[in-house]
């Protein structure tokens, strides 16, 4: 009998321990409000901006923990700025932040979308405002800026609404932007000098670019640093842009036979021509983006099309310790410049890809939680304030109504060159690949090696992608 009781006790203990494992996380996620003494402390430290919030908003019950996810992590140039800003906001409000930020890549996007699907979305997120956000906007899981303004009239009041991107789902504005982005062409001037090529300027044409590439190749360097088998995205975008225009670039073709469809095919053919001419690195089909970027920074390749975030990457590559700015090799950094992407047809070299593609969302879950609503609004307001936005935006665009003058003395030489380049930009157009999302991109992104080697016709690859897009 004793053994039977013992066995039952052991079995119960096992089941209970499993149940306890399961309930532990849930318990921490739905913690009871903090003790009264902490509440008093928080009230004493409450910021002025919270005091001025409308009376109808419920007063916060006490310090709350906000779940926040952003792309300010890893090698992102603003990762440290974000950490500093979060610390400052927490110190100011007494709240805390559970930060689940991660590097901006497909895994991050998938994680966020899956979190929304499973009801475990964060309270605040800094995320893309293009097609990536469609699923959770369609499901009503984020709150529009107008709805927030109905309760908090000053919310995002410092932003120029015309520059806040409309949702592709319902045309409403959801994401409060911070820093914009641009895509342009970085050059290694050491390689250009060795090949007798001058740094391209505002009137740079495709024909001039081809001539320069040939000179660079003849001098024994790789003209273009790009891993076509890994990250062909930037060349894909600009190659298509060269056959469209700032006015038409964001139109996804309805069929491959349409004018826009033919423009896309022509873009793919241009990349194929560059590959056949040997202007990409020899191992472009098997290399990773990191490898070709290393070729660029080590003076083995001349041109690199990439985004504004790469300024930080190049600066890091010029430091003996990427974590320590004092180890910057200024002479090495001086060899890099950033300029316009060679233009063709209706696109001028100074017409670049760029804009404000991301912003802060407040989720419906946080909005409907009386304990978190104020904190979420306060957090986004803090992160998008006139003081903080310039810190994040640096040499990129912002949507501030009254953007303060930029203090160039705090910038490194490449950032200063980027500012000069941006001053000559004639237009910034969004990336059509942000609309052309999901499996429709596979045939021309992952399929780029097959296109450039002629195993798949560009027209078939584009047609396959458009068919997949139309089926979505």
């Amino acid at each position: 009998m004793k053994k039977r009781i013992l066995s039952l006790v052991l079995a119960s203990a096992m089941v209970l321990s499993l149940a306890a494992c399961g309930s532990k996380d849930t318990g921490s996620a739905n913690e009871e409000p903090a003790p009264a003494e902490t509440e008093a402390e928080a009230e004493a430290e409450a910021p002025a901006e919270q005091e001025s919030e409308p009376a109808e908003a419920e007063a916060p019950a006490g310090p709350v923990e906000l779940n926040v996810t952003t792309t300010f992590a890893g090698e992102d140039g603003n990762a440290q700025n974000f950490k500093n800003a979060v610390d400052a906001w927490c110190a100011e409000t007494g709240n805390s932040v559970a930060d689940t930020s991660a590097t901006s890549d497909e895994t991050f996007k998938t994680r966020v979308i899956t979190d929304f699907e499973t009801g475990s979305e964060p309270d605040v997120l800094f995320f893309f405002n293009g097609a990536d956000a469609n699923s959770f906007i369609e499901a009503g899981k984020v709150v529009s800026i107008d709805d927030i303004r109905a309760e908090y009239p000053d919310y995002a009041g410092n932003m120029n609404d015309d520059l806040i991107t409309d949702s592709l789902v319902d045309g409403k504005k959801y994401a409060v932007p911070v820093n914009g982005f641009w895509e342009a062409m970085f050059v290694n001037t050491e390689v250009l000098d060795a090949a007798g090529v001058s740094v391209p300027g505002a009137g740079y044409t495709w024909d001039q670019f081809l001539e320069d590439c040939q000179k660079i190749k003849d001098a024994g360097y790789a003209p273009i640093a790009c891993a076509l088998g890994n990250i062909p995205h930037y060349w894909w975008e600009f190659a298509i842009f060269n056959h469209t225009s700032p006015a038409t670039h964001l139109n996804v073709p309805t069929s491959v036979d349409s004018e826009q469809g033919q423009a896309w095919v022509a873009g793919m053919e241009d990349i194929k021509a560059l590959y056949e001419a040997g202007y990409f690195p020899e191992n472009t089909l098997s290399a990773t983006d990191d490898e070709t970027f290393a070729m660029f920074t080590e003076g083995k390749a001349a041109f690199l099309i990439d985004g504004s975030w790469k300024v930080g990457g190049i600066v890091n590559a010029c430091q003996s310790d990427p974590e320590d700015p004092s180890t910057l090799d200024a002479d090495k950094l001086a060899k890099f410049d950033v300029t316009y992407v060679p233009g063709m047809n209706d696109r001028k070299a100074t017409d670049l890809i760029g804009g404000l593609s991301m912003g802060y969302y407040i989720t419906t879950k946080a909005w409907e939680d009386p304990e978190k609503r104020d904190a979420a609004v306060s957090f986004v307001s803090y992160m998008t304030s006139d003081e903080l936005v310039p810190v994040f935006a640096q040499h990129t665009a912002s949507a501030l109504k009254n953007a303060p003058a930029v203090d160039e003395s705090a910038f490194n030489p490449l950032q200063v060159k980027a500012m000069a380049m941006m001053s000559g930009v004639t237009s910034l157009t969004g990336a059509v690949q942000d609309i052309f999302q999901g499996d429709c991109r596979v045939s021309t992104f992952d399929g780029m090696p097959e296109i450039v080697t002629g195993r798949v016709d560009a027209i078939d690859a584009v047609a396959e992608g458009i068919d997949a897009y139309n089926a979505q």
């Binding site: 066995s7 899956t114 890994n230 098997s286």
Partner: protein, 295 residues
């Protein structure tokens, strides 16, 4: 009463229940849901199916027509052969050699087993540096030996070799340890009596060690073949997205690619079913061929 507790098996059910529930929730439910998913339209990862495919077996037709599926199956088959010959074969030779030495046997056991304790992803990154095109270790060695051009070890012609070499190297130690244990279980008296009868060292291996190691070898081959079907992390770290030209896909990596990268979730579910069928079939075939003997 004392002995009756051993006759009453009911309490055992209570012990088995938690693990059973765990398996239901985290293995069998997803497995059957995956079968349903393979017939549905799923727009993106994390979303539920929006309806049935038209026709409902569309993904299966596509799978048969998809040349990359055949490439991945061919590569997986090569991987199985490599594991049998490269892992089990080399492990057997090493085990026989180590079994015949008196000094340093423990040292060699540790040395050969060591790669197993390193994570496959870390090994992938390590071998990435070894096979790097520019300034990679291997190319630098070749350069110092007078080679003037760089070798792209990840090019289409060499990619499979570059991918399978580290996988093979990693698991040799695992099978080595299993075999050396099997060899240790063979009684010394057999070898001694064979020596007295005038058997050479080779004859002792051929007529004593190998026959008595038969069951251990069978177990190793079954483990190696079924393991080859599951290899994922190291190939994916070294050759993401089947680079170059989708030539290095294995069935597992292609399934992951279609689901996580191409966002073709329902097609990825179909490939997962193919993976299960292949797993069941190959383990049946291997079990039939390498049947264990009773002595």
């Amino acid at each position: 009463m004392g002995a009756s507790i051993y006759k009453n098996k009911k309490p055992l059910i209570v012990f088995l229940l938690p693990a059973f529930l765990f398996m239901i929730v985290y293995l069998y439910y997803p497995f059957f849901q995956n079968i349903i998913n393979s017939f549905q339209q799923i727009k993106r990862l994390g979303q539920s199916g929006t309806g049935w495919n038209d026709p409902w077996y569309m993904n299966y037709v596509e799978m048969v027509k998809d040349p990359v599926v055949w490439t991945s199956m061919k590569n997986t088959l090569i991987m199985m052969l490599v594991t049998i010959i490269g892992q089990v074969g080399i492990a057997l030779i090493l085990a026989l050699l180590v079994d015949n030495i008196r000094i340093g046997a423990k040292f060699f056991r540790t040395v050969y087993f060591f790669p197993i304790v390193i994570s496959a992803t870390a090994l992938g990154l390590l071998f990435n540096l070894i096979f790097l095109y520019d300034k990679g270790m291997l190319n630098q060695i070749l350069e110092s030996l007078g080679k003037t051009s760089l070798t792209d070890w990840k090019s289409e012609g060499l990619a499979l070799f570059t991918m399978m070499l580290p996988v093979m190297w990693q698991y040799v130690g695992f099978y080595f340890v299993i075999m050396i244990t099997g060899l240790n279980n063979i009684s010394e008296e057999l070898y001694e009596s064979a020596s007295i009868d005038g058997a050479t060292r080779f004859q002792r291996v051929r007529y004593i060690s190998l026959p008595l190691l038969h069951n251990v070898l069978c177990t190793c081959v079954v483990l190696a073949v079924t393991g080859a079907l599951k290899v994922f992390d190291l190939p994916w770290t070294m050759f993401p997205k089947g680079m170059p030209m989708k030539s290095t896909f294995l069935t597992g990596t292609y399934m992951y690619y279609q689901t996580m990268e191409a966002k073709n979730v329902d097609y990825g579910s179909t490939l997962a079913i193919l993976l299960v069928i292949l797993g069941v079939l190959t383990s049946k075939i291997v079990n039939a061929i390498f049947k264990e003997k009773d002595y």
